[in-house]
Amino acid sequence: MKILVPVKRVVDYNVKIRVKADGSGVDLANVKMSMNPFDEIAVEEAVRLKEAGVASEIVVVSIGVQQAQETLRTGLAMGADRAILVKTDETVEPLGVAKLLKAIVEEEKPGMVILGKQAIDDDANQTGQMLSALLGWGQGAFASCIKVEGDVARVTREIDGGLQNVDVKLPAVMTADLRLNEPRYASLPNIMKAKKKPLDTREAADFGVDIAPRLQVLSTAEPEARKAGIKVESVAELVDKLKNEAGVL
């Protein structure tokens, strides 16, 4: 079985982002970029399925600017076999990403697509579910365990009250939650090897799908800042403040 893993290049999760003063967006100049953390988990899961003999080939795909190649190389260094960059300088919304991925799925015919559950920049949490719907495939979203048995995957999903187990017919789309696994660091020899693995570049415009944005961002603002309060010296003072000043006890 072939596994396709879409990976997004995003601002590194350790970076404290800054909103531009004129409200036109987030300042991305000279900011460290990395693979979306959930996508690292998705790649790791695919690599483990390959190591377990369930998967035969792993293809990583990224839709974005030329530099998204670096993100793809990271995926290759973690153990993916091949990479596809769908190049565009425009922002592609989750619906557009899902449509492009559908076109790639139709070419590549994987048995499973594993995405991250959420990109930490747009915090949309949509693309995998949209792709599953467009393909008419089964969906195992927010997965914390995936076990493949024949043509079914038993998926444990994280839900609000705990966990849900479902059987998803393959081919299917999964999205990775944080506890699915702990992604490996790529070793230096693997980083070197990754440079020689095949990376295809395609133009997004050549797929003939409608990726025009539907949303117009009118403005971007910093959230209302919370002022740091005071330090109290004792539990008695804390309880007094909560009762008499804040009125929450």
Binding site: K117, Q129, G140, R154, Q164, T220, P223, A228
Partner: protein, 309 residues
């Protein structure tokens, strides 16, 4: 303008999230119908009919709809979507699972985790773990949105809407329900608790997490929350995680004990009315958002707090 709100329920009862999402749906300005899709869900439908401001409640029942499976729920919503200008669901784990499918099948771009309705086509939503708030206008004629329930007050319960049964839609049998492991607790739910006490890696073990937090939570009738580090270390179950990728909460009082205050954690609790931080490191970033900070060892402070309450 008419809006369809998808109820969140477990067949036997309606989840609080529905009443909060209803407030957002009503702010869109049109009549609001509620869809209760499930199996043997008459009780949930009756509760939905009591919510204030609802035009009517539509009930669809089938085996496939019994467990909030995304394929079945989205097929049901799409089957009746033609009659509506907007489709709204709470941004719970159920809503996040099926709503993007609805959006894709209708060829609409979903607005996720809306925190404010500015106009029927313009919304506020957080991005970058809540560090950049976008005002977005959609060009889609049909609006598909999930709403962050912490930002909307629950609608009242003095209504008496008519309940109408509709046909269950055919659903693709791609995913079948097997089982659920739900945490049972008599505590208030994180999403609706007035007070939350949350513990982090500083609690150091599952035993101490429970031994330190439970007595204080009991005194305050509080829900218990956790940082991701505490969940990863096995001190607390995953459904207690507060943050960018856990639950987003806004209680009257949030007490963070042994939590450093990483941006991903703050994303889930910084809209709380009053924040208390207990941490032995006076430089911990949590103090930058805390109204009241107390520097010290939580293993001394929490038992003392419990006695003082």
């Amino acid at each position: 303008m008419t809006t369809l709100l998808i109820a969140e329920h477990n067949n036997a009862a309606l989840n609080d999230a529905t009443a909060k999402a209803l407030t957002a749906a009503l702010e869109l300005g049109g009549a609001v119908d509620i869809l209760v899709a499930g199996k043997d869900c008459a009780k949930a439908a009756e509760e939905a009919a009591k919510l204030s401001g609802v035009a009517k409640v539509l009930v669809a029942e089938s085996d496939a709809l019994g467990h909030n499976i995304a394929e079945a729920l989205s097929a049901q919503v799409v089957a009746i979507a033609g009659g509506y200008d907007a489709i709204v669901a709470p941004a719970t784990s159920v809503g996040k699972n099926f709503m993007p499918r609805v959006a894709a099948l209708l060829d609409v771009m979903q607005l996720s985790e809306v925190t404010k309705i500015i106009a029927a086509d313009t919304f506020e939503r957080p991005t970058y773990a809540g560090n950049a708030i976008q005002t977005v206008k959609t060009a889609d004629s049909k609006k598909v949105l999930t709403v962050r329930t912490a930002n909307f007050a629950a609608a009242g319960a003095d209504g008496s809407a008519a309940i109408e049964t509709i046909a269950a839609a055919d659903a693709p049998a791609t995913t079948t329900y097997v089982s659920e492991e739900l945490s049972t607790s008599n505590r208030p739910e994180l999403a609706s608790a007035r007070v939350i006490i949350a513990g982090g890696r500083g609690l150091a073990s599952e035993e101490q997490f429970n031994a330190m937090l439970t007595p204080v939570a009991d005194k305050l009738s509080a829900a218990i929350g956790a940082s991701r580090a505490a969940v990863d270390a096995g001190y607390a179950p995953n459904d207690l995680q507060v943050g960018q990728t856990g639950k987003v909460v806004a209680p009257e009082l949030y007490i963070a004990a042994g939590i450093s205050g990483a941006i991903q954690h703050l994303a889930g609790m910084k809209d709380s009315k009053v924040i208390v931080a207990i941490n032995k490191d006076e430089e911990a970033p949590i103090f930058q958002v805390a109204d009241y900070g107390i520097v010290g060892d939580l293993f001394d402070i929490l038992p003392e707090l419990e006695k003082a309450l």
